[in-house]
């Protein structure tokens, strides 16, 4: 997605006065709007892509509230809350990075983007420890899944959804991490100008979306019935 927009207009059409204006667009304004519109459309597909898993989550939470309560209690709430804070922080640094690119501050853009990458890395590292802890407790669905008590079956469904949702989210984080690396490198090479910073804005939209997914994942997976209503 990003590479399509970062390339130069390789052969200048008769009226391509600006190096970043691609041949089939008339104005930079039209090109910028097309790019952001395209990104929003892509985010619609991502909303529905995660939507399928949220459907499965909603169904099984209604069917097995007790299993959801017990299994959710296995998760470490402090790590989850910390990760949420980290990700909201990375959303802030990303927004500041886009703002820096808009105002033409090259160095500031690079710094903010690197900060965003750092926070993303912290999130992934915390995720790694959480997953390791699951492997140790045999909470990974599959043949050697172990969960004491009668709710073992539905609990395995819970952990299947846990790994599917957080795994998919982590994959999107990793993709976002590499996109940030490309953007940081381009910003370092002073590629962006106040007229043409579309790749930074596009990556920002993508990163904020990944943050929104976690904003939903955190309460749905970690905060199920901490008050012991069901179990």
């Amino acid at each position: 997605m990003a590479e399509a927009l970062t390339a130069h207009g390789d052969h200048g059409g008769p009226h391509a006065h600006h190096p970043d204006l691609q041949h089939h667009f008339d104005t930079l304004e039209q090109q910028h709007e097309a790019a952001t519109l395209g990104m929003w459309l892509f985010l619609i597909t991502e909303v529905l892509f995660f939507g399928g898993l949220f459907l499965a989550y909603m169904l099984y939470r209604v069917w097995y509230p007790v299993a959801w309560a017990e299994a959710s209690r296995e998760l470490d709430i402090t790590l989850g809350a910390f990760n949420t804070a980290v990700l909201i922080g990375s959303s802030l640094t990303m927004a500041m990075g886009v703002r820096a690119a808009q105002t033409g501050k090259q160095r500031a853009t690079v710094v903010w983007i690197l900060l965003t990458m750092a926070l993303g890395l912290v999130f992934l590292i915390v995720k790694y420890f959480e997953y390791k802890e699951k492997f140790e407790h045999h909470h990974v669905p599959g043949v050697n899944f172990m969960f004491e008590g009668p709710q073992a079956g539905p609990a395995q469904i819970y952990f299947s959804l846990y790994f599917l949702m957080t795994g998919l989210h982590a994959t999107h984080m990793i993709i976002g991490f590499f996109i940030m690396a490309v953007i940081a490198w381009m910003a370092h090479k002073k590629r962006f100008t106040p007229e043409w910073y579309t790749p930074v804005e596009i990556s920002g939209l993508y990163w904020h979306f990944v943050d929104i997914v976690w904003i939903f994942l955190f309460p749905l997976l970690y905060l199920v019935d901490r008050a012991g209503h069901f179990a």
Binding site: W63, Y64, P65, V66, P150, Q151, G153, F230
Partner: protein, 329 residues
């Protein structure tokens, strides 16, 4: 009409006629619209045909009334069809109260029927004429679908759940049984037939094929072997709720919900007891998932149903048996 080609399925159940009448009506509506449009298309194409590519048609942009007409009228017709279909659908899925119970399990590539009298059949089913029959069935592996074209009924067999169909055969003879949900290599081999017999001949068939114990007695034996009666005492003092006279009534659940005690609830309580615990009881019951075949679960369900018949008789029969010390596993 032609000896070799059958163009219309046999009609062997009371409801088949209703389905067929609905089918005729929709065919008539569809044929009418198809003819109207086809005639108009052919008529216009012929009447306004031109060889001169430069000729130009009339300047007509459309007409709101016409558009509204052919939007609203088809919608009204659709509503009529919808309501009629919904009523036929409800009749198809609403068995009368008194039905002849038959249990069945579908597993890869055969149907196994269990009659209350203990008779078991593979891919064949004998039913009496003129009595409503309800088949409660499930699948032991993948999706299947029990389909009687002559009775116009079909329902998918889903592992982990009971499905049921009912029909009242009103024509003697042998009719097809198909599996209608793709289930693998011999999906097309998972077929059989249903034999509709005179009630007398049916009784005679039952007598001749009496298998071992009746389903209820098998259920009762399982109820004892698995030590269910240690908790489910009939006078309600045990750790589990009394099952006497429970079938068909409403049950208050621990989490405040309410559920009808039917085959599905009894089966679910046997295999996954912790999901819907009865109010006032602890989720102590172990799961029997994997320990019981579907046939045995059905036997237990039938036994629990039989407790409804005469709970007093059942209670004193149980009492006498308890009096004579039997070694419980």
């Amino acid at each position: 009409m032609f000896p070799g080609i059958s163009l219309f399925p046999e009609r062997a159940s009371a409801l088949a006629a209703d389905v067929d009448h609905l089918y005729y009506f929709i065919t008539a509506v569809a044929a009418f619209f198809a003819l109207v449009v086809t005639i108009f298309v052919i008529f216009f194409a012929a009447k306004y045909r031109t060889k001169d590519p430069m000729a130009v048609g009339a300047r007509i942009h459309g007409s709101i009334p016409l558009e509204l007409a052919w939007s609203i009228i088809p919608f009204l017709i659709s509503i009529v069809i919808f309501v009629w279909s919904a009523s036929v659908f409800f009749d198809l899925y609403r068995p009368p109260d008194q039905t002849l119970e038959i249990y069945a399990t579908g597993k890869r590539w055969m149907w196994k029927f269990q009659h209350l009298g203990g008779q078991n059949e593979i891919n064949e089913l004998h039913v009496p004429l003129g009595r409503p029959v309800k088949i409660t069935f499930t699948s032991e592996d993948v999706l299947h679908s029990m389909f009687f074209p002559a009775f116009r009924v079909k329902a998918d067999a889903i592992p982990g759940r009971y499905s049921s169909i009912w029909f009242e055969a009103n024509k003697l003879g042998q009719f097809h049984l198909f599996c209608a949900e793709y289930c693998g290599t011999k999906h097309s081999g998972m077929v059989g037939s249903v034999f509709v017999m005179e009630p007398a001949a049916y009784q005679q068939w039952l007598g001749g094929n009496a298998g071992g114990a009746t389903l209820t007695s098998r259920g009762e034996r399982l109820f004892g072997d698995l030590a269910c009666n240690t908790c489910h005492v009939s006078d309600g003092r045990g750790r589990g709720p009394s099952l006497a006279n429970k079938f068909g009534s409403f049950e208050e659940l621990a989490d405040g919900g309410r559920v009808t005690v039917d085959e599905a609830y009894v089966r679910e309580s046997i295999l996954t007891p912790q999901n819907k615990v009865v109010a006032g009881y602890q989720p102590l019951m172990p799961t029997f998932q994997g320990l019981l075949s579907e046939e045995n679960v059905m036997a237990l369900v039938e036994y629990v149903k039989s407790l409804r018949a005469s709970s007093e008789a059942r209670a004193e029969a149980a009492a006498t048996r308890d009096a004579t010390p039997q070694e419980h596993k």
